[in-house]
């Protein structure tokens, strides 16, 4: 479904702000798999997601999605295949427009837009039902500006919008990180429901070990622009949060050792 080959990306190359965000990432996602991308700040997990979404074009590497080589496709073209929910609840919706109008936009994701009526009757019926299914009482407020809603409500609606037309790939970029614990819980539960119900191929970035353990069928652990561990199958199911913490500590110790060794070698030979 999704194949990433040798992704490399350096931001601000040749300057003091140089960041080697991706240093050779190779990953293949099977159809219908729900992959959690876990990592510390600056590990490159969000960069990886943005590379797949097409927010920037890669320095090196190839991306194949649903049988297409999308490496050079601009973001809006990839949107035909990809549904997205952002970390910032304000990023996924147009605040000045009504709930219904936001969904009218989502209902034409990746399709040609013409002079048809945006709020078509065949949209409004299913829309009311599916918004009602969120149990947030929003089905009677479809004409209200989406900017008047809370972050949690907006994020739930963004998820619904991203999956309104079944995406070939769903990208969730720390989409609960900016919410209060109760809303975060609602949104992650809703996400899991939708993903299971529609069997969506999903990449979810998170820094929450609890979420990584509780959801999905595979974990990619990232550190310094590389995938350092790939938990899948039985290993993923047995995993506890402590195991992940141990694994991160191990990586950190090895790194300190490396730096210590380098310093020693420098002292001896340079």
């Amino acid at each position: 479904m999704l194949e990433l080959h040798g992704l490399r990306q350096t931001f601000n190359p040749g300057t003091v702000n140089e960041v080697r965000a991706l240093q050779g990432v190779d990953v293949t996602l099977e159809e219908g798999s729900f992959v959690v991308v876990l990592g510390t700040n600056g590990s490159g997990k969000s960069t990886l997601l943005n590379a797949v979404a097409g927010s920037f074009l890669l320095d090196e590497g190839r991306i194949r999605l649903d049988g297409h080589d999308v490496t050079r496709w601009p973001e809006h073209r990839r949107a035909r295949l990809i549904g997205r929910v952002f970390q910032n609840p304000f990023s996924g919706t147009a605040p000045g427009m009504s709930i219904a109008e936001n969904f009218a936009l989502a209902a034409r994701r990746g399709r040609p837009r013409g002079l048809g009526w945006a709020l078509a009757p065949d949209l409004m019926g299913p829309l009311r039902d599916r918004v009602a299914a969120l149990r947030m009482g929003l089905e009677d407020r479809l004409d209200n500006a989406i900017g008047s809603l809370s972050g949690g409500q907006r994020q739930a609606l963004t998820l619904l919008m991203a999956t309104w037309l079944r995406p070939r790939l769903l990208l969730l970029d720390e989409h609960t990180a900016a919410l209060d614990p109760k809303s975060a819980d609602q949104v992650i539960t809703l996400s899991d429901e939708v993903i299971r119900r529609d069997g969506l191929t999903t990449m979810m970035v998170t820094h929450s070990m609890a979420q990584a353990v509780a959801y999905g069928d595979r974990i990619l652990m990232m550190h310094r622009g590389r995938v350092v561990h790939d938990f899948r199958g039985a290993e993923k199911r047995r995993l506890r949060p402590e195991d992940l913490i141990d694994r991160f500590d191990e990586i950190r110790r090895r790194e300190q050792l490396d730096e210590g060794a380098a310093a020693m070698l420098r002292d001896l030979y340079v």
Binding site: E75, H76, A79, S91, A94, E101, L105, R108, W117
Partner: protein, 308 residues
């Protein structure tokens, strides 16, 4: 009464300018100074065609299309070449000054002998009401002036309704969302650059349409007529928002029309009371400045009051 009729007609004609400025300034948050050039371009193209004997409808349409092309050019410079929107507008406006002179062949084209929408309106008025003055609420009114006012009203309402319907279509909704949240629009598969170009074309098309009608109403096109028009458009939009208050699309468009008419009435009254016409642009600029700053200033005072 003639003064009032004139101000109403001018206000309605310039309401097209106000709607154009609403599209660029309120929907895309771009203060698009291309406006100053495209209103003259619309006037120049229409005037030259009218002098050549083209029908008023065709000439006006051609003027609007020329303005739309200028707006699209500003959009291309802004999006494809990544130049600041304000600078892109300044570049196109400056270039248009020369273009307009070339189109007209000189700095002023009179339309005294040409067949324009204004002369047709007057003929219509005479055909309907005869040549003598009508009495409207006890005031004598020339039937020609009344007919021209009716045509201007028709143009403003038609443009407003069309624009409203357009912004309710799939394309129009995507265009409004582009100004509201470009990141989301990209994620939903729409090309933000294309919609920005399209939006600026639409905005400047309306502005040039306004210019084409203005030239026919005042009886000439002039290379200098566009100076400060963006600020007049902004003033109309701001007055309109104060009148209709709401942020809903229909009310905002109606507000732009009402704002433009009210602004023209205020100007007519002020000039009648002896305001020096040379001060008009200074006062308009001060008005727009205070209308932009005042809400923020008041909010800060209100917010700061409990702490003090």
């Amino acid at each position: 009464m003639t003064l009032l009729l004139g101000a109403l007609t001018l206000g309605l004609i310039l309401s097209l300018l106000a709607m154009g400025v609403y599209v660029s300034f309120r929907i895309f948050s771009i203060p698009d100074i291309t406006t100053d050039g495209s209103i003259t371009l619309g006037a120049a193209v229409a005037a030259v065609l009218l002098v050549g004997g083209t029908s008023p409808i065709l000439a006006t349409g051609a003027g609007a299309l020329a303005g739309a092309a200028a707006g699209a050019l500003a959009g291309v410079i802004h999006t494809r070449f990544k130049i600041n929107a304000l600078l892109a507008g300044i570049l196109v406006m400056t270039a248009l000054y020369s273009v307009n002179l070339h189109v007209m062949g000189r700095s002023n084209v009179p339309l005294l002998q040409a067949n324009t929408f204004a002369t047709q309106g007057e003929r219509l008025g005479h055909a309907l009401f005869g040549a003598g003055p009508l009495h409207l609420l006890g005031w004598p009114v020339a039937p020609g002036d009344l007919a021209v006012l009716a045509l201007a009203l028709l143009a403003a309402v038609a443009a407003g309704v069309t624009l409203y319907l357009f912004f309710r279509t799939d394309v129009g909704t995507a265009m409004r969302a582009t100004g509201d949240n470009p990141q989301m629009v990209r994620a939903l598969g729409a090309d933000v650059d294309r919609y920005t170009i399209l939006g600026l074309a639409l905005s400047n098309g309306l502005v040039a349409l306004s210019g084409a009608l203005l030239a026919q109403y005042q009886g000439f096109a002039d290379a200098q007529m566009g100076i400060g028009m963006i600020v007049w458009g902004l003033a109309s939009v701001i007055i309109g928002e104060a009148l209709t208050g709401s942020r809903s699309l229909g009310l905002a468009l109606a507000g732009a029309v009402l704002g433009s008419v009210l602004f023209r009435l205020l100007v007519a009254v002020a000039l009648r009371w002896g305001l020096n016409p040379n001060d008009l642009k200074l006062i308009t600029a001060l008005f727009v400045f205070s209308a932009l700053v005042l809400p923020r200033f008041l909010a800060r005072r209100r917010g700061g009051a409990p702490a003090a």
